[in-house]
């Protein structure tokens, strides 16, 4: 890393612009691709580029640049997402996939706080996601609360119900704490299945989002061009994902992130230096569940219909696999990981049943060659400027 001279501010901006445009263009091609040949070529290009970029040094240059201009890197990510949403303004299915990627990323940001920062393994991600969805369904069907408040309330309810787990999670460590959350996830699904008020196994309808009198589900048209109603949802999902991302990153680069990391790496040393282990685990667990609940709330509105089978243990594992595949503790890595886990199987439709086999093989291969995930977490640099001391 030291071999590359530090780029100037302007060079960094240019590097980031180029990277942003290339990645956006690639994602556009990838989301667009339908034929076997094009998907295969795109996957091959991605694999070659991923390994090649590090070998040639391009990855390091981009890393340096984004370290130097972190704000600009985020703007490009946001801009790229907006371009993609605009580009697919009429394709429902692709927009739905974009929404799913954004909301799963949001939920995984919550898991990153819990598992990546504080070391609290949560194998019930889908359950808290489901609590968010169900809370939204009930609140928006039976009350006239503004939907924006319902989203927040759904997050709070997820966090509140999660607090029931705090005592058992604090009393146990490692695998045992994981078991507690697994049990909770199964409990949640069973509870919903047998509960007639919440629709039982048939599930519940979720009314669409409305914001200041505007109904998301109605769709709209601009200059006579019909725009998919999913565009509104994609923008909402993007806003929430970006907001949660900024919060998680700010906390990581603060005493909060430092305290959580110390609690995760050594509880004895942490206690010896005055850190209250329980406090930090509770903060991480509660805040994480809040984010997961918020993501689940919007997800419920988008799919318009939720059932217990949407929130199984397998879905919890899916979320955790995104967190680990991206690089445990690294918020940025969640985005490519979510794309691989959620979009790739859809794109591999042409090989039908074999798609899960191929997808699973790919995930294993990635972790074989990159055991720390696609983008391993970097050491904490609180503010970018002082590092060039």
């Amino acid at each position: 890393m030291k071999m590359h001279s530090v780029p100037t501010q302007r060079q960094s901006a240019a590097i980031l612009a180029a990277t942003g445009l290339i990645l956006t263009f690639y994602l556009w091609l990838f989301l667009h691709a339908e034929s076997q040949l094009s998907v295969a070529i795109l996957i091959a290009v991605c694999v070659v580029a991923f390994f090649g970029a590090r070998r040639v040094g391009v990855a390091q240059v981009v890393e340096q640049a984004s370290k130097q201009r972190p704000g600009l890197a985020r703007l490009w990510a946001l801009g790229g997402a907006l371009i993609l949403i605009a580009a697919f303004y009429e394709s429902h299915f692709i927009l739905l996939m974009i929404c799913a990627v954004l909301l799963y990323t949001t939920a995984c940001l919550g898991l990153t706080m819990q598992f990546g920062f504080s070391g609290v393994a949560n194998f019930a991600g889908a359950a808290f996601f489901g609590i968010g969805s169900y809370a939204t369904a009930v609140l928006s069907t039976h009350t006239g609360t503004p939907h924006i408040l319902i989203i927040i309330a759904s997050g709070l309810i997820a966090a509140l119900i999660g607090s029931m787990l705090i005592t058992p999670v604090l009393r146990t460590r490692g695998h045992y704490a994981a078991l507690v959350t697994i049990a909770f996830g199964i409990l949640f699904k069973t509870f919903i299945e047998v509960n007639d008020v919440l629709g039982g196994p048939q599930g519940l309808q979720v009314p669409g989002m409305s914001l200041f009198g505007y109904e998301f589900n109605n769709g709209f048209s601009v200059f006579g061009v019909e725009i998919s109603f999913y565009v509104s949802y994609a923008l909402l999902s993007l806003g929430i994902c970006a907001g949660v991302f900024v919060i998680v990153k700010a906390l990581e680069h603060s005493w909060v992130g430092l305290a959580m990391d110390v609690v995760r790496t050594d509880e004895t040393a942490a206690a010896t230096f005055g850190l209250h282990i329980a406090r930090w685990k509770v903060v991480a667990f509660t805040l994480g569940n809040f984010f997961i609940g918020v993501a689940g709330s919007v997800y419920g509105m988008i799919t318009a219909f939720i059932a217990p089978n949407n929130f199984t243990f397998a879905d919890s594992l899916l979320m955790l696999s995104i967190v680990i595949l991206g690089g445990l503790g690294n918020a940025v890595g969640l985005i490519p990981a979510a794309l691989i886990v959620l979009v790739l199987p859809e794109k591999l439709q042409f090989i039908q049943e074999y798609r899960f086999l191929l997808y699973a093989a790919l995930v294993i291969a990635i972790l074989r060659f990159h055991p720390d995930g696609l983008l391993p977490r970097k050491t904490r640099i609180f503010f970018s400027r002082e590092t060039s001391r």
Binding site: L251, A259, T265, A270, A271, F273, V283, R377, T379
Partner: protein, 261 residues
């Protein structure tokens, strides 16, 4: 050189099931002294540290620190009252940077509220810069060579540097009592020598700091301790200057028996 006592240990007993790790231990720690704590393996030295820092709960007895009972206090409270320590097996957070590991030593003065850290980024930045200055100042006294590597992960450092980082973390909170648990463990002779000079250096800069040192290297004990306490099977078998304890027949049979030969 008369000085006040800051820790009074009275009839301290710690039992693990049938094993008595500390057996009616009585000793004092005085302000500004370097006290060597000696004894064969399993004689209860580290157990004493763990009881004093609140990690273990003693079965009986009392430890008065600054006139206050320590037994029953949580590790967090003991830390806040000015006791800091290092561990025999290094307990640093290896993926974190040198700065992270040392700064956390002064956790008690960090503003760690969520709102402050999340929303008042300017104020946080100012506080953070203050911590960078503090850590750099400490490293400049103790181990200047680490200053240039402030933001590298601790996992990439050698054993002696890790030990230095651990001592810096303990010093970061300006403790009144510093507990060093076998700082030379796993080090070469030369490394031990350098580390001890570093500790002597700190001592000369902080004359009021009391240090308790667990150590097996007798020449280290001879060089830097003012007074020694020797334990065996959790009991104090000797106390006094290095010359006094080495002359003690109890100590010779229990501890130096094989080594002196």
């Amino acid at each position: 050189m008369s000085s006040s006592t800051i820790v009074q240990v009275r009839d301290l007993t710690m039992r693990f099931g049938g094993l008595t790790a500390l057996d009616r231990l009585n000793m004092d720690i005085r302000e500004g002294e370097v006290l060597g704590l000696l004894g064969p393996n399993g004689s209860g030295k580290t157990t004493f540290f763990n009881v004093l820092t609140g990690l273990y709960r003693a079965s009986e007895g009392s430890i008065l620190y600054d006139g206050q009972e320590v037994l029953g206090m949580t590790p967090q409270l003991v830390y806040r009252s000015g006791v800091a320590r290092t561990f025999q097996r290094s307990r640093l957070s290896l993926p974190l940077t040198v700065f992270d590991n040392i700064a956390i030593g002064d956790y008690q003065h960090m503003q760690h509220g969520l709102i402050f850290n999340l929303l008042r980024r300017k104020a946080f930045r100012a506080e953070y810069m203050g911590y960078v200055d503090k850590v750099v100042a400490l490293l400049n006294i103790f181990s200047p060579s680490l200053v240039d590597r402030l933001f590298e992960p601790v996992g990439t450092f050698s054993m002696i540097d890790r030990r230095r980082i651990e001592v810096c973390r303990a010093l970061m909170s300006h403790p009144r009592l510093l507990l060093l648990d076998e700082p030379s463990a796993g080090m070469t002779h030369d490394e031990t020598h350098t580390l001890m000079s570093d500790i002597m250096n700190v001592r000369s800069k902080l004359p009021k700091l009391s240090v308790v040192l667990i150590e097996h290297e007798m020449n280290v004990i001879e060089r830097i301790t003012d007074r020694c306490v020797v334990l065996n099977y959790g009991r104090k078998i000797a106390e006094g200057s290095y010359a006094e304890i080495t002359a003690d027949p109890n100590v010779q049979t229990a501890y130096l028996g094989e080594e002196a030969a």
